[in-house]
């Protein structure tokens, strides 16, 4: 969708950004950057400050401290109009005028952005979300999923340099959510820079190049696989037909293994530094010990494990 070449430098640079509402801190000391063409996931529980961050970067809210550059422009009151003309924000609820048709909704926003070739842009945006045949339908007649798609079409009208999507699949059924995922994936293929806030971890894992996990402060940031490696040691899961007579003797001296324990399902979980070295050695040791080996596989931690690990740590810290 994007016609213009983006300016040099990152699409978003946020440095020590903080927002307080009186005594309440919405988010604090948040720093990150997002490159053009990247899909960046912003994860966190309810009340973590995700939406407030989006509203701040979208110039709706004034930060209490810190700095940011949005689409190449410093975030300040003087640049509000210029920043808003370079970005598009799709809030959690698409906020359509239900008494107007799909095309009338889009025409209104095309006027607000002073876009040229409005009719062609509206047609193109509707085609991008698969709604070209619903242009004349009143928005009140559309399902929630279709309204979300109209909201996405509205955000695409301007070919934004940065597209903020705030919980785009919130409240959608699995089929509608999958349709929105497919649309986001298609935008990603076209090189659109997307800042996606969500608490659906599978969504972030599927769509995002990098993710930041937020809980008032930014707890961690990186590629999903990097985060898994940072937070979790590598583990080999070993299943045998019968329990081992002396597992410590089998697993105690394996090269590349740091320790072992038995899981709740009876499997042996071997903590290793190098699975490629440890797995063959474990297989040989098991055979030598006379065990019937049923399965030996590395366990894969999901982004959800990473998320829960970080958020649980925060909860425990608060309880102490």
């Amino acid at each position: 969708m994007r016609a213009e070449t983006p300016p040099a430098g990152p699409a978003l640079v946020v440095e020590n950004l903080t927002k307080r509402f009186g005594e309440r801190t919405a988010f604090q000391d948040v720093s990150f950057s997002v490159e053009y063409g990247e899909v960046f996931g912003f994860l966190g529980p309810n009340g973590a400050g995700k939406t407030t961050t989006v509203r701040t970067l979208g110039t709706l809210i004034v930060p209490s401290s810190g700095t940011a550059r949005v689409a190449g422009l410093p975030l300040n009151a003087d640049n509000g109009v210029a920043i808003r003309s370079r970005i598009a924000v799709m809030p959690e609820a698409p906020g359509l005028y239900l008494r107007l048709s799909v095309a009338e909704n889009l025409a209104y926003f095309a006027g607000l952005y002073e876009l040229p070739d409005r009719r062609a842009r509206i047609e193109r945006a509707l085609k991008a979300v698969g709604l070209q045949n619903r242009a004349d339908d009143l928005c009140r007649s559309l399902s929630k999923g279709l309204r979300q798609r109209v909201g996405l079409a509205r955000a695409l009208l301007t070919d934004p340099q940065v597209l903020f999507l705030d919980e785009p699949t919130s409240g959608l059924d699995p089929v509608a959510a999958r349709e929105v995922h497919d649309l986001i994936a298609a935008l990603r293929e076209q090189g659109v820079t997307i800042f996606l806030t969500t608490h659906r971890l599978a969504e972030a894992e599927r769509l995002c190049d990098r993710v930041g996990i937020m809980n008032t402060t930014l707890r961690t940031i990186g590629r999903p696989d990097e985060l898994r490696e940072q937070l979790f040691s590598k583990v080999l899961e070993i299943r045998t037909r019968a329990p081992l007579a002396d597992p410590a003797a089998v697993f105690g001296a394996l090269p590349g293994a740091d320790g072992w324990h038995q899981g709740e399902n009876g499997a042996y979980l071997l903590t290793v530094t190098d699975p490629e070295q440890a797995a063959p050695a474990a297989a040989r040791a098991l055979v030598a010990a006379g065990a019937d080996l049923l399965a030996l596989s590395p366990t894969q931690h999901s982004l959800e494990d990473v998320y829960l690990q970080l958020i649980d740590t925060d909860v425990e810290a608060q309880q102490r």
Partner: protein
């Protein structure tokens, strides 16, 4: 893109959207259609009930009352509409997407005000024209002569747009500060009434409606209307409207 000044394209977009939305909003459409008709009934009854030999004081009082009813149209019709302007968008959840566009607050408010203003002027002048036509055709000539006094017509023509503008800015101001449409409409209706005192005093003959006085009062109301636009724009705080908290 326009920078540092108002964009007529964006203002026009707001007006077009508002008029489309009004047309399909039953409450607003019925208010705009029924309220003026109701305010026309009493003036017509009054002027038809005035006999030709009525004393001058009673004649002035009757016509003053009729004209007061007619000035309720530009005062109350836009109050109902404009009080919906911001709080209505908040209730629908449409305000946040609009505020994330390059639209300036002055443009949004001016567009909304003009969208309420234009139909109000058309309705008010059409109703006044019908009233004059009824008076000219069916009222006793003595009564008609009094109604067709230049001072009365001038005051009505001059104050109609100014009263409408006052009601609109008052309605929008209240709409930016309240969180409930009904509260906004009730307060707006109340606040739209004080300027009617001027036209009432003229209509009842307490103030002689000379050209100079009408122009002076008109200029005063115009100054208040322009100041109201600036004041309401300053009251329009994006952060408070979105989060409920002040920046």
């Amino acid at each position: 893109m326009t920078t540092g000044q108002l964009s007529t394209t964006r203002i026009r977009a707001v007006i077009v959207k508002e008029l489309r939305d009004y047309r399909r909003n039953r409450f607003i459409a019925y208010t705009m259609a029924i309220m003026p008709v109701l305010f026309m009934i009493a003036p017509i009854v009054v002027i038809f009930s005035l006999p030709g030999d009525v004393p001058a004081a009673k004649l002035d009082k009757g016509i003053g009352l009729s004209l007061l009813y007619l000035t309720l149209i530009p005062a109350l019709v836009p109050a109902v509409v404009s009080s919906y302007a911001v709080v209505g968008e908040r209730e629908q959840g449409t305000l946040e997407p609009v505020l994330t566009t390059p639209l300036r607050r002055e443009e949004l408010l001016l567009g909304k005000a003009l969208a309420a203003y234009l139909p109000t002027l058309v309705i008010s002048y059409v109703m006044y024209g019908l009233f004059l036509a009824f008076a000219g055709l069916f009222a006793h000539p003595n009564v008609a002569d009094d109604i067709f006094q230049a001072g009365r017509i001038l005051a009505q023509l001059l104050f109609t747009p100014l009263l409408a503008a006052w009601s609109i800015w008052a309605g929008i101001a209240i709409s930016t500060r309240t969180s409930d449409v009904r509260v906004s409409q009730q307060l707006s209706t109340l606040v739209s009434l004080p300027p009617l005192a001027v036209t009432a005093l003229m209509g009842f003959g307490a103030i002689t409606p000379t050209l100079r006085l009408a122009l002076l009062l008109g200029a005063g109301l115009l100054a208040i209307d322009l100041a109201a636009w600036r004041l309401v724009s300053a009251m329009f705080d994006r952060e408070r409207l979105i989060t409920g908290s002040k920046a």
